[in-house]
Symmetry: C2
Subunit: 560 residues, 2 copies
């Protein structure tokens, strides 16, 4: 059996190694047009920023190592230029000599990743001071430029996963950084009420962020880019530019032999990573995944999924029974000491998919606050009828990835919201709280579903806008209320609620709020237990409401 793998990064090498672990007989060849194999290209900006000692640490293995350890033939700087699938042959071009040779396969794996998604204005252009982030080889070019030209400023175009990481690392390397995105906030895959905070983090750490602003024009000076003009008419000048506007699957070669694409324009594969063509597989950033909850196609090129898909294809080809179970779209960014992570569906996506979700926003301490524990904001989305967990987004300085991973595990196992309370999580004062944020989230979701309905900031805003007949109660103390409160809100501090129920109509619609939603929950329970018919708790409290007003650039709904 001969396996030819096109592409030798996470997906391709994992496929090769798994195949070898199952079979000593298989002949395994990897072709990659890059100079490196199995490189950690996803970390090149960390080498630029000094978090990694040297760019070369990102290439711990070479072709000889794969030969010695796994008897796998790795041919770097070799590009598969043509495939004849009827004859099961490939034509491979040696990029150093220009020579082309034919090779044969029994199974073929497309693991040749992505090509850059380039904004129109940059298409077919190349500048000595414009860089892209993907491979270690591109990282070396960037590193050399910085070492030699000592740029003092940079414009980063695109504020996704890579754009944010690069913005942080260039800042750490001492550059003045300006980051643009044509969308309003960074990390467009998150809900607005979370991504607003990311823009704040950038600004607080010296990165100037411009949302809703794409690059529309370039001021060129030969091979040097002088400045860019944006859709808002601003001209931004910098010593260097990073175009971090994402990637798309590199499907051209696969399409040339009739490999079918999915609706995301990545290669359509089944749970065994098989394409529509017999003996042809696709794995990693070139392949389409599916969402573990909705089962719908999803394209999210990440190293975790790539290595998983590679392992599955290598296993299947050599007789194994591994299958792909889909992804939750779990993603995480570390940004100036903060972590922003999400798993599963956002509120927006859940609504698009026809769920009418319960949405909880809460503020939780990573560990006990008297031990120095810092707060994180957790947004949870669940399905009220089935109690199914739909998705989570968390932002904060500590313990974010822990909770996201626990919640991703719970979702993978199809746990219900109420079951989060049952998990026996680790507790000791420097590590967590006796009711871990995960447990608390489960409890609060369950309460909201069962008998303590929540209202989101957006819904509350609409009520106010539409002049709904709703009584809004601020249960914080009088001083906090005087300082600022929602338009039309009346003040009944929690301590006084039991004594002042007579002032309220038990048949009216009531919404209660405090700073974060905890104190108001206590008040909500009092009213509901006393027979009030319709009482809502503003989830995320004033924090969420002010965040929304900030997003809407409209602080007029606040008095005080």
């Amino acid at each position: 059996m001969k396996i030819v793998i096109i592409g030798g990064v996470a997906a391709g090498t994992n496929a090769a190694v798994r195949a070898r672990r199952n079979s000593e007989d298989a002949e395994i060849v990897i072709y990659d047009r890059d100079v490196d194999v199995a490189h950690a290209g996803f970390a090149t900006h960390y080498a630029v920023g000094g978090r990694v000692d040297s760019m070369e640490e990102l290439v711990p293995y070479d072709a000889q190592w794969f030969k010695d350890i796994y008897n796998i033939d790795v041919k770097t700087q070799h590009e598969v230029v043509k495939i004849n699938h009827d004859e099961k042959t490939v034509i491979v071009k040696d990029l150093q000599t220009g020579k082309e040779v034919a090779d044969q396969y029994d199974s073929l794996i497309f693991a040749n990743g992505t090509v850059f998604g380039t904004p129109p204005v940059f298409r077919d252009k190349s500048f000595s001071n414009v860089f892209r982030i993907k491979t270690v080889q591109l990282g070396r070019e960037l590193q050399n430029f910085i070492n030699e030209e000592k740029p003092k400023s940079a414009v980063v175009i695109g504020a996704g996963y890579i754009g944010l990481g690069v913005s942080e690392q260039l800042t750490n390397a001492g550059l003045n950084v300006r980051t643009l995105d044509f969308l309003k906030y960074p990390m467009a895959q998150l809900d607005h009420d979370i991504s607003t905070y990311i823009a704040d983090i950038l600004e607080e750490n010296g990165v100037t962020f411009h949302g809703n602003e794409g690059v529309t024009e370039l001021q060129e000076n030969g091979e040097y880019l002088e400045s860019v003009t944006t859709s808002l008419g601003n001209e931004f000048k910098a010593d260097m530019y990073i175009v971090a506007t994402g990637v798309r699957p590199n499907t051209e070669l696969a399409e040339s032999i009739g490999v079918e694409l999915g609706e995301t324009r990545a290669i359509k594969v089944n749970e065994k990573m098989q394409t529509n063509l017999k003996d042809v597989y696709a794995v990693g950033d070139i392949a389409e995944a599916f969402h573990a909850i909705t089962k719908k196609p999803i394209y999210l090129p990440l190293a975790t999924t790539a290595s998983k898909m590679g392992r599955i294809a290598g296993d299947v080809i050599t007789g194994g029974d591994l299958t792909f179970k889909g992804i939750l779209g779990t993603s995480v960014v570390r940004l100036f000491g903060n972590t922003i992570a999400g798993t599963g569906m956002t509120e927006e996506l859940a609504r698009q998919d026809g769920f009418e979700p319960v949405v909880l926003t809460s503020v939780q301490s990573d560990h006990l606050s008297f031990m120095g524990g810092k707060d994180m904001i957790i947004k949870a989305v669940a399905h009220p009828e089935t109690e199914r967990l739909l998705g989570f987004q968390i932002i904060g300085p500590e313990g974010v990835e822990r909770r996201i991973d626990v919640l991703a595990t719970a979702m993978t196992a199809n746990m219900k919201a109420s079951e989060l309370f049952d998990i026996d999580l680790a507790f000791t004062p420097p590590v967590s709280t006796p009711k871990d944020p995960v447990m608390y989230t489960g409890m609060a979701l369950t309460n909201a579903i069962k008998n303590s309905p929540l209202i989101t900031a957006k819904e509350m805003y609409r009520c106010i806008e539409d002049k709904d007949d709703i009584t809004i109660i601020d249960v914080r103390d009088a001083e906090a209320y005087e300082n600022e409160h929602l338009e039309n809100a009346i003040n009944i501090p929690l301590k006084e609620v039991r004594g002042r129920l007579g002032e309220l109509d038990p048949n009216s619609r009531i919404a209660i709020y405090c700073n974060s939603g905890r104190t108001s929950y206590t008040a909500q329970r009092i009213l509901l237990n006393r027979g009030f018919k319709e009482v809502y708790n503003l989830t995320g409290g004033l924090m969420s409401f002010k965040n929304l007003l900030h997003d809407l650039d409209n602080m007029s709904k606040m008095n005080g």
Copy 2:
């Protein structure tokens, strides 16, 4: 309805608050003989060591707060001295005035925690320089002593959860600390091959640890303890002493009315926290839990379980349907920058319970090593026939609690070993690895169960002791082999394995090892794929084997 709760720490206050959230009608009274309510007594040593600014931060609430917010009556320094359950009355003594009054209840909750388990030699004695750790009030006494007497040295008796925490914090406070335990290693609930490392951490951080050494004699000087003599005849002198020899359930009062105890000597409760007596509940450190895997009774007094049990009892009494789902025995200690955690069953417990488990020890990096990721040691125990996850123990400087929490979640959801690979965990270079330690653990367990059997260090040691007919192959390079290797091991570096198969008998029993078990797995697969009949991989490699020899005080099985 009137609910009387005896004990106002985690369990009691959670019961009270949950009852109030369900009902405004219930009259709720908490009696506690302590001066504080809802205190974080579990953290007093952190106030002593300076991790918490002031001991008073551990008492954020008082009786007035509970009255104002929850309309709960909290009577501190009030001891329930007698109960007449036929009449549903309690006699309560005001510890400040000595006066006794009667009260009445519909439901009674025992939440009165623990009493100290005192070593015989300390029984009925009290010294001005001997302290115990439990309540904030005891913490204040310890703090006062340290402030006034400025002790320079301490002996900590007991190296469990509390003993370790105190040893660390007194060291941080500048004292010379000597820690004793009558068992060989700290944290007796963990397997020896993990707890050995804890002893090393203590020593590396300046704490002198003495295992297998209990206190047998006291040298007294009035109310001052001069020194202690141990079971090994050593005399240890210090300015102060901490007795951290654990607690037992405080069941005397409950037993006086016929409340039944379980086999752990804690109060027997059902999943609704009900005792054998109608309308009598027990929650927290006084109550027996059950193990979520074995369903057998287990006693593990921890704040997480206490607050969980309290919430359930408060819910049930007021008509709710919460039930207790058992615990996994998850526990965690932070010790001089290291974290030691466990969940589920140890290997020892699994074997005692009749499982013949597959046992995996591996070394995993928290995040990418070129990003500064540090290694953790993960011991995993699973059931081979069903692939059921039985338990995990992890030790390392980073990310330990994250993996334990994910694994506890997976166990709670009854995930199989192979399903750990399917979880979509968060990845970014500063946070994790593309194959997270959890995924890797699942993959390695599955491989071990399916077709790549492991041998533990203990089994390997027995093979050598018994002079079993087994060929031991060291697949590290020649230099490492020359430096040290297992007695009788032959050296075939991994690179040479494919070329030297002819030297080996495919029908013989073979065990392969490297440093940690990863390289040897590759070699194992080559042999098995080439038709070798019986090939084992030494799990945890030389690291685990040397750890065992160290434990056995017998390095003679190593050559080189």
